[in-house]
């Protein structure tokens, strides 16, 4: 079966005063129907720009090339009008900061209803009723009161629930959530992750969860792609990636994440150095400076994504973990 979303050779470039920035460097990525994909990377890895690009939401100095076929239609080749039939309707979007994504002077109920009226031709009355149902679906406390409130009257967690209600309004085939819980307190984050798990159980919707926090996607993602410096460096089933990462960066990231069972006797495991500056031109592997497993070829040849230990896994490394030649 063809994937619901198929991104092919995507490049995103920004023209800046300091030169051209290659934010996404030739990414291929598929999302199957009903699948939840976790996309992990640190700031500047290109994980957000990748999805902003396929939704044609890049900043004005950004340019995307390649293709992104969603249900057979290349989103990058769409006109604005064609795209508006997909964005917000068949693809729902949730951003990190709900306060800047919601309209400050519109009541929550109206903002949800607006989507239904625009995309579905719903009547005002039926859209309002549906808005209330949607808020209840995302487990908004006191939903009948919330529909009449403005974004500033809600807490961060409630605003994020409102964003999710808007994203779900047209029953999209794909939900893209970019750091949806990063700005929230840990107990509220736990509530929202539970909501995402429930949505996943109860619907056939595909999901892409973009995050810097491996813990956030551990319970949700079927498959995980790890990005570094604009490229995917490893892609695997979630259970495989968390149990035995193949790319040294994935492994370092897992080890650097502090967790409650870690031994206390030693220092935290840090990744030395800094990520490369986005304007720098890199030959060879971008992670080499920070990698403890570098071999001679790493400085010359950029590693391509290749099948790893199991058939379901691809890794872009000349000396992946678990290969015999590893020193």
């Amino acid at each position: 079966m063809a994937p619901l979303l198929s991104i092919c050779d995507l490049e995103v470039r920004f023209a800046t005063a300091e030169g051209e920035v290659l934010a996404v460097d030739g990414v291929d990525l598929d999302v199957a129907a009903g699948e939840c994909l976790g996309l992990v990377g640190e700031s500047g890895s290109g994980k957000s720009q990748l999805f902003l690009a396929i939704l044609q939401l890049l900043a004005r100095n950004g340019r995307a090339s390649g293709s992104a076929r969603f249900d057979g239609v290349d989103l990058l080749a769409c006109t604005r009008q064609e795209l508006n039939r997909v964005r917000g309707k068949r693809i729902g979007i949730v951003f990190q900061d709900p306060l800047t994504s919601l309209t400050p002077h519109m009541r929550i109920g109206e903002q949800i209803a607006e989507v239904l009226i625009a995309h579905r031709g719903a009547t005002r009355r039926s859209a309002r009723m549906r808005a209330l149902e949607l808020l209840e679906r995302v487990q908004m406390s006191d939903a009948p009161r919330r529909v009449r409130q403005y974004p500033h009257e809600l807490s961060g967690g409630q605003r994020q629930r409102a964003m999710i209600a808007i994203a779900l309004a047209c029953e999209p085939g794909l939900l893209i959530a970019d750091e949806p819980t990063t700005a929230l307190d840990v107990t509220i984050q736990a509530q929202l992750l539970e909501l995402f798990r429930q949505l996943k159980r109860e619907s056939q919707m595909s999901m892409v969860l973009i995050t810097h926090d491996l813990g956030v996607i551990a319970g949700l993602a079927d498959r995980v792609a790890v990005m570094y410096a604009g490229r995917i460096v490893e892609e695997a089933e979630a259970s495989d990636l968390f149990r035995s990462p193949c790319h040294p960066y994935s492994e370092s990231l897992l080890r650097a994440t502090p967790h409650l069972d870690a031994p206390l006797t030693t220092d935290l495991v840090a990744i030395p150095g800094q990520p490369p500056r986005p304007t720098s031109r890199i030959t060879g592997c971008a992670f080499l400076d920070r990698c403890s497993a570098g071999v001679e070829i790493c400085a010359r040849v950029t590693p391509e994504l290749r099948s790893g230990r199991s058939g379901q896994r691809v890794v872009a490394c000349h000396n992946p973990i678990g290969k015999s030649q590893r020193s």
């Binding site: 640190e42 967690g157 509220i188 979630a238 968390f242």
Partner: protein
Amino acid sequence: MTGIFSRTRDTEPLLAIRDLDVRYAIRRGVFGATEELRAVTGVSFELRAGETLGIVGESGSGKSTMVRAILRLIRPSAGRVSWLGQSLAELPPSQLRALRREMQIVFQDPLASLDPRMTILDSVSEPLAIFRPELSGAERTREVRAMLERVGLSGEIVNRYPHQFSGGQCQRIAIARSLILKPSLLICDEPVSALDVSIQAQIVNLLMRLQREMNLSMLFISHNLAVVRHVSQRVLVLYLGRVMELAPREELYTRPRHPYTRALLESIPTPDPARERARQQASLGGEVPSPLTPPTGCVFRTRCVWTQPRCSNQVPPLESVSVNHQVACVRWREIAP
């Protein structure tokens, strides 16, 4: 240094906080009545020399307000903050000013806490210019270079500007500035929250090393309980401006007594798919109530699964679980796992 700032009296804690209250007057609209927001209520704790006390709590728990009141960046409404037994409120301004060099703070956003128009040399040497004016320019530069090297940067960067550095490097620069006067107390307010995971560990390790080398006492504020666990000897848990639990690290993380502490620990997602998928319900429902209208009695009772009618009658006193472990819950004995 002599007199009250010296560390001769070893029995005295470095810092002692007694019944600290911070209230803000809030006015709704131009003619609206003033309301009182209680940001911090009745907080007490002590910090010994060389110790790290972790302070955890969610937004609105009062953790940042509390440390600002300790530094007297805001005036406490009630309570006593003492430094080696001496109340800060009673110190004459000149002595309070002199004491400031002993207490330094590192903030969350390193780029925002450095002036973009000042060179690294100017930023890091500014405290020296204020507190050690006798130093010559060359001496100041030498001190700055040495401190930059100590925080893992090159001394050669002195003439560059903050925007030329990454977030992690800027945080190192901010740490260098906070330590250039060799303070006794370093307050870290979410020092790694704005940083990427790979850089976060570098900064945590750096702070721990500097603490050992300089015998610093630290108040380490963070919403990340895993990081706090790593750096702290004791941990204070705040909720809506009140202390819920105060315990040595091992006890707090292995035998948390307060329902809120337990819920906080259970809420943290772990990078383990099997465990995460087995999760049932989020351990804590609802949201933090408004600090303008906090619940009567126990402030946590509106979200607590163990709540009983009596919890709304009186504010639970801090009870001792063991010598160093205190909990503010009237039911802590019954609900122990």
